[in-house]
Structure formats: C-alpha cells, structure tokens
C-alpha cells in the first residue's frame, strides 16, 4: 500500500480498516466505526502512510507491544548496566544495596535510551525511558507500601492475642506481661461514636443546605467548610482544650467532630450532585413539598454514597492521635464514662507505649497499631462494598 492509495480517501473502507493503526482500549471507538473513519482520514492520511511504510504487517498497532527487538534492547541494556555498575563498584568502593540499585537504574535508562535511539525516533526512545521510569516508580511505591503493612503486621502480631483484647493495663507494667487494650478500644469507640453521631447528621444536612436549598449563606458556608478542611488536627485539639481545659472522652469527640464535619460535608455534597435532577423534578411536579423531595427522594437515592462518605470519615477519625491526646489524654484503666476523667484510645495507647524504652511496651504499641490498621481496613472495605453495591443499583434503575 502506498501513500498515494491512502491519500485518495477511498482506502478507509471496511476491508482496509485492518490497516488503520488504532489502539482500542475501550469499545467506544469500535462501535462508532463508519462515522469516525470518515472524519479521521483527512487528518491522518499522511501519518497513516508513514506508519505503513515502516511497518509492513497489517495488524493493528498496540502500544505496549513486546517484540523480539524490544526484548533484545532490554536485555542488552540490562547486561551493559550490570557490567558498568560492577566495574564502578570495584573502582570506587561504594558499598550497599541501595547504591547498587540506584546506579544500575541510572545506567540502565541511559543505555536503553541510546540503544532505542539508534534504531528509531527520539519520540520512541523517550517513550521507552518513561515506561521504565514509571514501572520503577510503581514498583517502589508498591514495595514501600508492602514494607509498611508487613512491618506493622510482623511487629504487632507478637502481642495480639485474645487476652490482649479483653484486659486493660491495670496490673500490667513495663516488665510484667499481660495487659491489653480493652480500655482503649472502649474509649476509641465511645469517642468516635459520639463524634460520628454528631458530625454525620450535621454534615449531611449542611450538604443538603448547600446543594438542595442553596440558601443565602451557601457561598460563605462552602468557603468556610473548605477552610476547615485544611485545619491541622492539632489545632482542633488546642481549640477544644482552650474552651474546656480538662480531660474527658467527650472533648476528644468534639475535636474529632470538628475534623469530620468538613470532610464528610464535602464528599456528601459531591454525592448529592450525582443524584439526577429528573428525580427531583418528577417529585416536585407531583406536588411534593421540598422537604419531602429531599427526605423521600434525594437522600434515599444517595444513601449508599452518603454511607460510604460517613464510614470514610469514621476511618479517618479513628486514627487521629494528636487531638485526642490533647483532649482526652490517656489512661491505664478502664473508664467507661466519656463525660469525665481521662480516657484511653487506641492511638494514644500506641503512642504512649511506643515512646518508652521497654520492649514489652513497644510490642503492645505495635499490637495496638495493627489493631488500628485492621479497623481502618474493615471500615474501608465496608465503605467500598456499600459504595459499589449502591453504584450498581443506581446503574440498574
């Protein structure tokens, strides 16, 4: 096929469609076939011809294709880089795995670029280089995430036994085994529970005010909520402590509520935005007053999304350490009353124990951290599950 054939414009018919270089990632372009082809050919005919010249086979081009030439390039670059790094290390006496990896990557990328550049365009060489870079970044991030999870799990599992969950620290000390986090779990649940019971209805109603009622203050409130979202958590703790300078679980709940309100409000507003206007209009046209529209149509439709937003808010709040330590402090004993006396919570328990020199205390802290991580994991999975179910239901309607 020559470029003259293509530029005539007649080539892009059905039997020639196999020659059109496309990378179909979604089915959308395939379905829109005929109309699309007509539009495209005038722009791309030269490019198409260009590619056809360099590529003899008529198969569609795929972006991440592995051919033997690519494999050869990668292998050659790897070997050269390894050689260079080994030689460099002998000469310069740089030890350590890290320096080896870094040097290898740098030289690999350079060699690979040079190799590809020899046989093809700058564009393609740059593409290969960034592909390598992005895979390295991906591997690096995934590896460090696994490191964090693995480290916490490994350290935490030592103390995380059934007994650990049903005892408090009344009798246990830095050197006496036993003890547990029951009091901290009770404290965490009470504090986060009270915070959620206050913050979630307030946030959802604020979102309703912002998106459904669009009151006069809506702009100002939205501005303030955005500002509050950037409030450092420690400042929330300082604020509550300056208002009520004594320790109690309820004050921790107040600080957590201040942190939950902006996040839950913002996500809830986003979710209300996804409720189709046609539903509201239908209800209003049937003569429903606005409050019935909101409570019977909008909120039920957005239910799963709002639930997801709330659960994510709770997951964020349960791990907050600084504001809780400033407002409820920490305690070794069970204190079921959130209204007075210091109260322990999982994060403050972990923080208090990790700061000591005792190995046993540190192990307890890791166990509490693992427990915290598991709680966040469970809450998060729940949120995703509910969110996915809701999305499916909304899609079916």
């Amino acid at each position: 096929m020559t470029s003259a054939d293509i530029s005539s414009g007649e080539v892009l018919t059905d039997e020639a469609s196999g020659a059109v270089p496309t990378m179909l990632r979604g089915p959308a372009t395939a379905r829109k076939g005929p109309r699309r082809r007509r539009r495209v050919h005038s722009v791309t005919s030269e490019v198409v011809a260009d590619i056809q010249d360099s590529d003899d086979d008529d198969s569609p081009r795929s972006v991440g294709r592995t051919t033997s030439a690519v494999v050869v390039e990668y292998t050659l670059a790897t070997l050269t880089a390894v050689n260079l790094v080994v030689a460099l290390r002998m000469l310069l006496d740089w030890g350590g795995l890290l320096s080896f990896v870094v040097l290898f990557l740098v030289s690999f990328i350079c060699f690979h670029y040079a190799l590809v550049r020899q046989s093809s365009t700058k564009e393609l060489a740059a593409d290969r280089m960034t592909t390598t870079l992005i895979w390295v970044i991906g591997a690096l991030v995934v590896a460090s995430l696994m490191w964090i999870f693995g480290f916490v799990a490994l350290k935490g599992v030592k103390q995380l036994r059934p007994g650990f969950l049903v005892r408090d620290m009344r009798t246990a000390g830095p050197n006496t085994p036993g003890g547990g986090v029951l009091h901290s779990m009770v404290g965490s649940f009470e504090q986060v529970g009270i915070a959620a019971a206050f913050a979630i209805p307030v946030s959802i109603l604020t979102a309703v005010y912002l998106h459904e009622l669009e009151g006069r203050m809506a702009r100002a409130i939205r501005f303030i909520v955005e500002g509050l979202a950037g409030l450092p958590s420690i400042v929330a703790g300082l604020l509550i402590f300056s208002i009520w300078p004594r320790y109690a679980g309820i004050h921790a709940a107040e600080a957590l509520a201040i942190l939950m309100i902006p996040t839950v409000t913002r996500t809830s507003e986003e979710i209300l935005r996804t409720v189709p206007d046609s539903l509201r209009e239908a209800a209003l046209a049937l003569g429903a007053p606005q409050w019935r529209v909101v409570t019977r149509v909008v909120l039920p439709t957005a239910k799963s999304g709002l639930l997801t937003a709330s659960i994510l808010g709770i997951a964020r709040a349960i791990g907050e350490t600084a504001p809780v330590l400033l407002t409820a402090f920490d305690s070794k004993f069970m204190n079921k009353n959130p209204l007075k006396e210091p109260q322990s919570s999982l994060p403050t328990f972990a923080y208090g124990n990790i700061r000591t020199q005792s190995v046993l205390q540190n192990d307890r802290a890791w166990a509490a951290a693992l427990l915290l991580l598991l709680f966040v994991l469970v809450l998060f999975t729940m949120a995703r599950w509910i969110g996915a179910r809701g999305a499916k239901r909304l899609g079916r309607n």
Binding site: V20, T22, M23, A28, T29, V43, T44, V47, D50, V63, L98, E123, A126, T130, T131, L133, I134, I137, G138, V141, V142, L145, I148, F151, V152, V202, L205, Y209, L210, M217, I221, I224, L228, G230, P232, S233, I234, L238, L239, I243, I258, D277, P289, Q290, W291, V293, L312, A315, R316, G319, L326, P347, Y351, W366, A369, L372, L373, V376, L377, R384
Partner: protein
C-alpha cells in the same frame, strides 16, 4: 439547580415558573431551619476558633510582643521568652522536602495505575492507595522511626560526604561525631511517604477523567504512549495535580505525630543542614510540649498554633486560586 416546574395557573399569561422555595409549607420551613442550624455549625466552629485561640494566645503575645514572637527563634519557658520563626521555617522545610519526594512518586504512581499496569492490577492498586490515604499518620510515624530511619542514616551520611557542593547537604562546623537522626530530611521523607497516597489518589482520579477519545486520538495519530501522556493526560490533569499537591502540602505542614515520633526533640533555631540532627515543626512542638507546659507556655503554644493555622489556610487558598486559574485557561 433543579429546573423549576411550571406554575399551575388558569391565566396563560401568568405562566411563570415557580421555584420550590416560593410557597413553602410548614414542613419546608421546619426543614429549612434544621438545615440552616446544621450549616451554622461550621460558622460556629470557625468563630470559636478565632475567639478562643486568639484570646488564649494573648498572654504570651503580650509578654513577648507580637513582632518578637514572629521574628525570633527562641523557646525559653523558664523566662517566658518565645519566638516561632525557626519553627515556621522548620515546618516549611519538612513539608517542602516531603513534597519534593512525594510529587514525582505520586504522579508516576497515578500514571502507572491508570495507564501502565494491567487493568486488573490497576484496579486493585487504586483500592489499596485509597486505603493507604486513610491509614493513621501514627502508623507512618512508627514505621518511620523504627524501620525507615535506620536505612536513611547511611544515605544521609553518603549525601553529606559526596554532595558537599550543595549548601543544604553540608554538615555544620560543630566538632564531634555528626548525628544524622532527627533531621529535617528523615522527617520530610516519612511525611512524604505519608502524603504519596493522598496525592496519588486525587491526581489519579483527575487523570482518569480525561476523555478516552482524546487519548485514543493521540495514539491513532501515531503518538507513543509517553506522547499521549505528555500532550493529553498531563495538560488535562494539571490543575488536579496542583490541587492534590497543595492538599498534600497542607497535610504535611500540619502533620503532628509522625514528625514528633521521628524528631523526638525540637530545634527552635532554623537549621539549614537538612541531613543533620535538629529540626523544628510547630505541630510537633505543640504536641511534645503540651503535657508539661505552664499556663504562659501553653498560651505561647496556642499562639504558635494560630501561626500554623494561618500558614495552612494561606496554602489552602493559594491552592484554590491556582486551581481556579489553571482550569480557566485550559
């Protein structure tokens, strides 16, 4: 907004649309009051923040003088002499280091998840990253102090040995064995690891919204995958990435426990030697000093909290402006 229903009227010339709010029922009025009350909670919080924090910080500011408080670098609770300049610089240093590490990683990770990884793995990673954005900072701090730090100390030593040409990486002239623990760099790297999932999660979301036709168009024109990313995805996702970065910066500025755990003690002087011991952070200072503070020092801590709040709010509103501007022009 809801398209208004047409008003019921006998006279066709009077056929103007009515809005839902035009003739509210009793239920509507009550509902409105409840919503307004809820929305006012945010107002109450911001007002309480302003009143109580400013009021509480007055004794310390009165004792030291406002100018001295914001331009001196000293923290002497015994004589009641406080100045937060060093802490402010330390806070910004740590957050900047965190961003320098986190932004390339996060943008690369977002591209990896969206464009490079096999779809199934990409979806799993998306969930994992969203989960990580919710992992308590305490856990990052504990990991940073007990695991990450030990691997960073040789790196710090290497940097201070080989990159002396760059002033930041030099060691101070103090004699004795250099101490590489509790440095701005280690704190910044730990905070950086913490904000990677946050920035990734937001920027991935924005990049996934690039119209697929545009990407396919770029590829169909013969562009490589990198060309597609450079010319379609990055310009489209720019404002999202900037917004995510600013979000991460705000988080890094206010980060408390992770920094407190890694630093262990606070330096009140600005320390230009970022690989060496001695770093400051307003939030971590509040957290560490709070327990044993006298009323006057508590007041100074609150005043430093106000400074921190001003810093994060400035960053937040700058981010809004940047995002607004980039979206307007693109």
């Amino acid at each position: 907004m809801v398209a208004p229903p047409v008003g019921f009227s006998d006279d066709p010339s009077n056929d103007i649309p009515i809005r839902p709010a035009d003739n509210p029922t009793v239920g509507d009025r009550i509902f409105r009051v409840i919503c307004v009350a809820s929305a006012s909670v945010a107002l109450v919080i911001i007002a309480a923040t302003a009143i109580f924090l400013l009021n509480k910080s007055r004794p310390a500011l009165a004792k030291t003088g406002v100018w001295h408080f914001f331009t001196a670098s000293v923290w002497n609770a015994a004589v009641g002499d406080f100045g937060v300049l060093g802490l402010v610089i330390g806070t910004i240093t740590i957050a900047t280091i965190a961003l320098i590490v986190a932004v390339p990683l996060a943008v690369g990770m977002a591209l990896f998840v969206n464009e490079y990884a096999p779809p199934r793995i990409g979806r799993t990673l998306t969930a994992v990253i969203d989960l990580l954005a919710a992992v308590p900072s305490l856990i990052f701090g504990m990991w940073g102090y007990f695991a990450f730090k030990n691997h960073l100390i040789p790196v710090s030593r290497w940097i201070s040995d080989h990159l002396v040409a760059i002033p930041f990486f030099r060691l101070s002239n103090a004699t004795g064995k250099p101490d590489f623990t509790g440095s701005s760099m280690i704190a910044g790297l730990v905070v950086g690891m913490m904000i990677v999932p946050i920035i990734t999660s937001v920027s991935r979301d924005v990049m996934a919204r690039v119209p697929r036709e545009q990407c396919e168009g770029a590829l169909a024109l013969g562009g490589s995958r990198w060309a597609m990313i450079r010319d379609v995805i990055l310009p489209y996702g720019k404002s999202g990435v900037v917004g995510a970065t600013m979000l991460g910066f705000g988080r890094a500025l206010g980060e408390t426990v992770a920094v407190a755990l890694v630093l262990q003690n606070i330096s009140y002087q600005a320390n230009p030697h970022i690989v060496q011991h001695g770093a400051g952070s307003i939030a971590a200072n509040i957290f560490l000093r709070f327990g044993e503070a006298s009323p006057l020092e508590l007041s100074a801590l609150v005043a430093s909290g106000v400074a921190l709040m001003a810093l994060t709010f400035t960053v937040g509103f700058a981010a809004r402006r940047v995002v607004a501007r980039t979206t307007r022009f693109s």
